[in-house]
């Protein structure tokens, strides 16, 4: 009977120990199940060329960036400046994947705002984007040796560029 009075104390101690270990466990690192895996196979037509772009293009021992965008996507317009800055100031290859877009509109977008991309793939059906686990546009991947290192959902802002993406490009 007396022992039961200590029950709350024991529970509290156990829960606190549990929290202590959870505290040091960074849950954000598991943000995408694709991080740490190979880029899935795909092959798509290119926007400004008659050739195709495949997942083999993304295999390089230097880190490269893959950006999923659309001309109808307003945040992509906002993000485009950041990509332009990145391509002009840093020695990094940026690949684009044009998602569910109209070819004329997409070309107009690139002509008007500039082209930061080395190659642009066209994914009219959105099929390749599904394999890449894309929720919506824009999304950005950092890839090295064909392995996805980092995934960012939504437009990249200068903050994320400074804090996350640049250290990866410089450090790797």
């Amino acid at each position: 009977m007396k022992l039961i009075k200590f029950l709350p104390l024991i529970i509290i101690v156990v829960v606190c120990i549990f929290f202590f270990f959870s505290l040091n466990n960074d849950t954000t690192k598991l943000s995408s199940p694709l991080v740490g895996k190979e880029v899935p196979e795909f092959s798509v037509d290119r926007l400004l060329s008659n050739e195709t772009m495949t997942n083999k293009d993304l295999i390089s021992d230097r880190p490269i960036i893959l950006n999923i965008w659309s001309s109808w996507c307003i945040p992509c317009r906002a993000e485009h400046d950041v990509l332009m800055v990145l391509s002009e100031l840093y020695d990094v290859d940026i690949y684009g994947l044009n998602y569910k877009d109209n070819e004329v509109e997409a070309k107009k977008f690139i002509e008007g705002l500039g082209n930061p991309f080395k190659k642009i793939g066209v994914d009219t059906s959105g099929r390749s984007a599904i394999d890449l686990g894309v929720y919506g546009v824009p999304e950005t991947f950092v890839i090295r040796n064909g392995i996805i290192m980092y995934k960012h959902i939504g437009p990249i802002h200068m903050n994320e560029l400074d804090e996350k993406i640049l250290p990866m490009i410089k450090g790797l």
């Binding site: 549990f18 929290f19 959870s22 505290l23």
Partner: protein, 636 residues
């Protein structure tokens, strides 16, 4: 100038530290200090925090970006109300608000005249010891008055999803609830230390418990209402870790208020009361702080720093383990032997306490399970609403049954047959109503029918017990608060079940000019516009709603793209009707030809909120009626 403000604010915080040490002297039996009275020192303690809080508000209003906190969480173009809510829309500011409420309760209690001087001294000492810990944490690890040496032209803004008038008042209200239980905690520690947990203790604690409970309920309700119309996920409760973190102290607090009533009436259930008082405050602390420390991850998390988390965890551990140890050692002394009859109201309340604790355990396991799997197997998963619905529904049915029965039982002994006889009109009418509804709406799910029947009986029996219908006038009885809250809960459950059964949802890929249909409602998609505003761009759709040819109003769902920080929010558009809410949410466009629209019909939402409001009012009425009774007793 900034430097001067920094010095003043920090000195004020240190002043509060010093006064807290002086106030906690009673715990260590040091009595030889009589320069200022107890309430005078509490007043200084309160004013020092109040003034530093006002300084912080001033900094936000004047957009002084020399202060880190203002720079990171405000913006000069922000409307005044959001500059104000920016004060507590971040970790450091909300900590200061938390402490402000902590010292406010301490000050108010030091003024109250319901308890003996010695009892009051120890309670204030316990409370001050906690204040000391929190102010130390604020000063060292999350100082809101840190300054930077750069000249920033503008701030980084506040999360746009938090730019909402409801969310400006939601944290303060919720905090008053959470922190209110700190005083109940201090009262319990005092009761344990002095071995005085009796009718007198319950009389002192009762108004504070009910007040804190009412604020906690209102705080949770406001948060839920915000989620309902702002997030646009088609519901009012998502079993999100942060929501659960506020529900758990509520469940424990609800059991606590009933124990306090029993303690006041029958001088029994001492151990229950003590455990629940400590538990409620533990859960409140965990609810506010673990959410912020990166242990629980959810949409709500807006500051994550393991260093702070560790301090809070150690602090929590010291407070909680020492208080539960105290309980384990002292509980033999406080428990009064009391033999009560099996068919008395005590039994009913005891059963419902266990049921509330069962729900608490269900919620706790659901919240902790993903953490455990993440820790042990490195696997991320979430526990869905299904788990909660399946495990809580049977408990709720039993809970409703005892909620009907217990108030009918007397404190002594009752005959069940006699009660059944007294309730015969209510039972017959409720059975008839349920039977007719079942036939009319083709309801054949036994759980739903059962909950509807029990809720109806609960509403009727509660209302009839709280009011005395005489031929010409209605007399409000002293248990009116209780019957109001119980009836409110019945109405709430009725709405929850009907809402779950009759909610409809449909997703359309719509083009301008098309007519969409859901149930009997016709949605006429008229137009879509792009707008540029000061700090965001938006896409707005215009739809008009009609039902059988009658025009019911216009929807303007909207998607906003904020630039600073870059965030996309979806603004839900709701048309409220008496029996159902109809609403439209626009998804982020995924292709250029059409827009994806989600249409919802949510029946009985108004009634659900009415139930919640009645529950809150019930708590407030109890505080007021209790105060009047207390005065009358004093006069007699």
């Amino acid at each position: 100038m900034s430097l001067a403000i920094n010095y003043i604010a920090n000195s004020l915080l240190i002043l509060c530290l010093v006064t807290s040490i002086i106030q906690s002297r009673f715990l260590f039996r040091i009595q030889n200090y009589n320069l200022l009275s107890l309430s005078q020192i509490s007043a200084i303690q309160f004013l020092s925090i109040l003034v530093s809080f006002v300084i912080l508000i001033f900094l936000f209003i004047t957009s002084d970006f020399n202060f880190d906190l203002v720079y990171f969480h405000s913006h000069s173009e922000k409307p005044l109300i959001y500059k104000l809510s920016g004060v507590w829309g971040n970790h450091e500011g909300s900590m200061l608000l938390w402490i402000l409420i902590l010292v406010l309760f301490n000050f108010l209690f030091s003024l109250s005249r319901s308890s003996s001087q010695k009892f009051k001294e120890i309670t204030v000492a316990v409370q001050s010891l906690m204040i000391f810990g929190f102010v130390l944490f604020l000063l060292v690890l999350s100082n809101p008055f840190n300054i930077n040496n750069e000249n920033f032209n503008d701030g980084l803004g506040l999360n746009p999803i938090l730019q909402d008038p409801l969310l400006a008042i939601h944290p303060p209200i919720l905090y008053i609830g959470y922190v209110g239980f700190s005083l109940i905690f201090s009262l319990s520690i005092t009761g344990l230390l002095t071995s005085e947990v009796d009718k007198k203790w319950a009389t002192i604690a009762k108004p504070w418990v009910f007040a804190a409970w009412s604020f906690l309920t209102a705080g949770i309700a406001l948060g839920s209402y915000w989620a309902y119309y702002e997030l646009g996920w088609g519901g009012y409760w998502f079993w999100d870790p942060v929501e659960n973190a506020s529900l758990m102290p509520w469940l424990s607090a609800t059991a606590l208020i009933h124990c306090v009533v029993v303690l006041q009436r029958k001088n029994t259930m001492q151990s229950w009361t003590m455990v629940l008082a400590i538990l409620t405050f533990s859960l409140s602390l965990a609810g506010t702080f673990l959410v912020r420390s990166g242990v629980l991850n959810s949409v709500h998390t807006f500051a994550s720093d393991p260093g702070r988390g560790l301090f809070i965890l150690i602090f929590l551990f010291i407070i909680l383990s020492s208080s539960f140890l105290l309980f384990a050692l002292k509980s033999e002394k406080i428990d009064k032997p009391f033999s009560h009859n099996i068919s008395s109201r005590n039994t009913g309340i005891m059963v419902n306490n266990w049921l509330l604790i069962s729900i608490l355990i269900v919620v706790f396991l659901g919240t902790m399970y993903p953490l455990a799997t993440d820790l042990l197997y490195n696997q991320s998963l979430t526990v869905g609403p299904q788990y909660y619905a399946m495990s809580i529904t049977p408990i709720i049915i039993l809970f409703l049954f005892f909620m009907i029965l217990s108030p009918q039982l007397s404190w002594g002994e009752s005959k069940l047959l006699k009660i059944l006889n007294e309730m015969r009109y209510i039972l017959v009418s409720c059975l008839t109503i349920t039977f007719l509804t079942t036939l009319y709406y083709d309801l054949f799910n036994i759980t739903e029918i059962l909950i509807i029947l029990l809720s109806l009986i609960l509403i009727m029996s509660s209302l009839s017990s709280g009011l005395n219908f005489k031929s010409t006038k209605v007399i409000v009885k002293s248990n009116f608060g209780q019957s109001m809250a119980h009836a409110g809960f019945g109405i709430f459950m009725l709405a929850v079940v009907s809402n779950a059964v009759y909610s409809q949802e449909k997703i359309y890929d719509a083009k301008v000019g098309s007519k969409l249909q859901l149930d009997e409602y016709i949605f006429d998609f008229k137009n879509i516009e792009q707008e540029e505003k000061v700090n965001f761009n938006s896409i707005k759709a215009y739809l008009s709603l009609s039902k059988s040819g009658k025009d019911l109003g216009e929807f303007t769902p909207e998607i906003r793209f904020y630039s600073d920080p870059p965030t996309i929010t979806s603004e839900t558009s709701i048309i409220h009707q008496f029996f159902s809410d109809v609403y439209v949410v626009m998804n982020v466009p995924q292709n250029q030809e059409s827009i994806s629209l989600r249409l919802h019909i949510k029946p009985f939402m108004n009634i659900l909120w009415l139930g919640v409001v009645m529950i809150i009012l019930g708590g407030i009425i109890t505080v007021i009626l209790n105060r009047n009774n207390y005065r009358e007793n004093e006069i007699n």
